[in-house]
Amino acid sequence: MSELNQMSNQAPASPERRRFVGVATAAAGLAIAPGVMLVEVAHGRPEDQAASSAVRWGMLVDATKCATGCNDCVTACSTENGWTPVAESAHPKQAPQWIRKLELQDPLTQMETNLPMMCQHCAEPPCVDVCPTGASFKRADGIVLVNRHTCIGCRYCMMACPYKARSLVHESLNDTQKPDVPRGIGCVESCTLCVQKVDRGDGNTACAEACTAAGHDALLFGDMNDPESEISKRLRELPTKQVRADLNLNLGVRYHGI
């Protein structure tokens, strides 16, 4: 079933993708550093080229570097994507939160851990499985998104998500959206890995940029399929875990220090 899903996801893009993969492979054969080549292709994807499954965008969260009380990633996300921070919302329980700081404590050892929690961009996303209209989908490059043109607001995906990553927009946004980030009443939304930035070629997300700017370096965004990317190198060295690994969803967000 999952193969089927993947196939249908890629089907429309396949001629493009094949061409791309072909070019990439040829280049890899010739180039001395094929990884660099791939990174370049991935980051500088021309605007008329579809997202490719040769890339898998992901994030490494180093919980040991995540500072207690620091909320910079959350603020950066809300600024980039235009959602109202929960503290400023008139309806905090109904306010969307694309990313949040989670504080964990072991009741026995008193050990405390801090980490950002958001959409984990599963390779086998339960939200995509349950969506009746196919509005919840995984893009070829591994980013899990909601197509708001077909989302009917049934909230089944919110029931299915093991990470409580999704929010429903409960009220009209009155044209306060960012031109780059459409979002609206009655539709479900979640972290998009800053897909607008990725497609623009920024090669980074707002949260990771903010974390680096704050000097914490707890967030690293990159292509997990490219063995030479910074994230792949770090993932090879650092022991990481997936949240609720028991569900075997193959997450795009990996945590160190949990």
């Binding site: 009746p132 607001g153 299915a160 990470y163």
Partner: protein, 400 residues
């Protein structure tokens, strides 16, 4: 076999139109509630990003489950060849269609974008249980509609058994689908089990029959027709079996969970520490919904018409409580992303979520109930669904 005369109800009395108008009023309230929710968004409801499915889903799922169960009597008649149930079958079919309609309307009018219903009818993801249910519900209308037709039209009467069997199988699959809406959710501790499918089926038997009995008794009492004890006692016994089976499934479900340590916390929440949910479970679902009706129906009280009605009403109330616990209780318990650790965040991680239904939600739900009853009340006026008499002598003739 003796023949039975079916006749429309007169439906011209003041009482009939008062009932009709009263139900219509609730349908209107439901429409206004939907309009309010649609205009302002879900911000005017008690639902939030923690409790994403609220009271409308409790009503919708209850009605859909009961709809499938209301078809029981008809199935027994044609699939299992019990002639005594034959005269009861047309009401069973129409009630089942009406309840399904009410439930579905509540379900679709609670969508965040209920204006995009057409999208749900044109875009399908076949891995989604929801998509399957769209087809199961549509098929239900077609099959039960056809079945009703075979009952009402002499020309196609020979197909009655085929249509009845198809409808019977379909509605078993349908309730399996409804149960699986929850059963196929891996994230929530109280869901994610195949138990939910058979449990929903047996619950549908009980809730559907309880509603059917009440509608049947009311229709006969208010139209002055005779409804003999033979029918009542037979259906009562059936209800006892179904309610007892529901109790059995609920006990097995929770006992199984209690055996696994990882479910201890969520079971403790529902069974002991859950506040309103614990109360609704023990008092609503178990006591009112199962134990008291069983005591009434099995004791001397069960021979009196009034007490049978009380028992049916209690089963329905218990059923709504069960849906509330199943749907909202399971969401109120926080997701356990990091087993063994205490979680806290601005997004209410690690805390029990509270839920207070708003007035529009309640009226949307009641609107669904009202539309189901309104359709039934109207249908028995325009179609020959009810036997002119179900006195013991008439019924006894059928048995031979």
């Amino acid at each position: 076999m003796a023949s039975i005369t079916f006749r429309e109800v007169e439906g011209s009395s003041l009482k009939y139109w008062l009932l009709f108008g009263g139900l219509g009023l609730f349908v209107l309230f439901g429409a206004l509630a939907w309009n309010h929710m649609h205009h302002y968004g879900h911000v005017v409801t008690g639902m939030d990003n923690q409790i994403v499915w609220g009271l409308p889903h409790v009503f919708a799922v209850f009605l859909i489950v009961a709809a499938s169960g209301a078809l029981n009597v008809a199935s027994i008649a044609s699939v299992f060849n019990k002639p005594m149930y034959k005269p009861l079958a047309p009401l069973s079919a129409i009630l089942s269609l009406a309840l399904m309609l009410g439930g579905l309307l509540v379900l679709v009018l609670d969508l965040g974008r209920s204006d995009r219903l057409i999208v749900a009818m044109t875009h399908f993801n076949f891995k989604s249980m929801f998509t399957w249910n769209v087809f199961l519900y549509s098929g239900f209308f077609v099959l039960v509609g056809a079945y009703l037709w075979t009952m009402l039209d002499r020309n196609v009467k020979t197909y009655s058994k085929t249509a009845g069997t198809a409808a019977f199988i379909w509605r078993l699959v349908l309730t399996t689908g409804t149960g699986s809406l929850f059963g196929f959710l891996v994230a929530r501790e109280l869901y994610g089990t195949a138990m939910l499918a058979p449990m929903f089926i047996i619950m549908s038997f009980a809730y559907g029959l309880a509603i059917y009995l009440m509608v049947l008794a009311a229709a006969y009492a208010w139209t002055g027709r005779t409804l003999g004890d033979a029918v009542m006692m037979r259906l009562k016994t059936l209800l006892v079996v179904f309610v007892a089976a529901v109790l059995y499934f609920v006990v097995v479900h929770h006992m199984t969970n209690l055996y696994f340590t990882k479910y201890h916390a969520v079971e403790a929440f529902i069974l002991r520490d859950g506040g309103i949910f614990t109360t609704l479970f023990w008092v609503g679902q178990i006591l009112i919904g199962c134990v008291v009706p069983l005591v009434i129906l099995l004791s001397k009280l069960g021979t009196q018409r009034t007490w049978i009605m009380v028992a049916c009403a209690l089963v329905v109330v218990g059923g709504v409580a069960q849906m509330y616990v199943t749907i909202i209780g399971a969401q109120a318990y926080p997701l356990d992303m990091f087993p063994g650790l205490i979680e806290s965040s601005s997004f209410y991680d690690g805390v029990v979520h509270s839920y207070a239904p708003s007035v529009p939600e309640l009226f949307l739900g009641l609107g669904g109930v009202a539309i189901a009853l309104l359709v039934t009340v109207f249908a028995i006026k325009v179609l020959r669904l009810l036997p002119a008499s179900l006195d013991d002598a008439t019924v006894a003739k059928l048995e031979h």
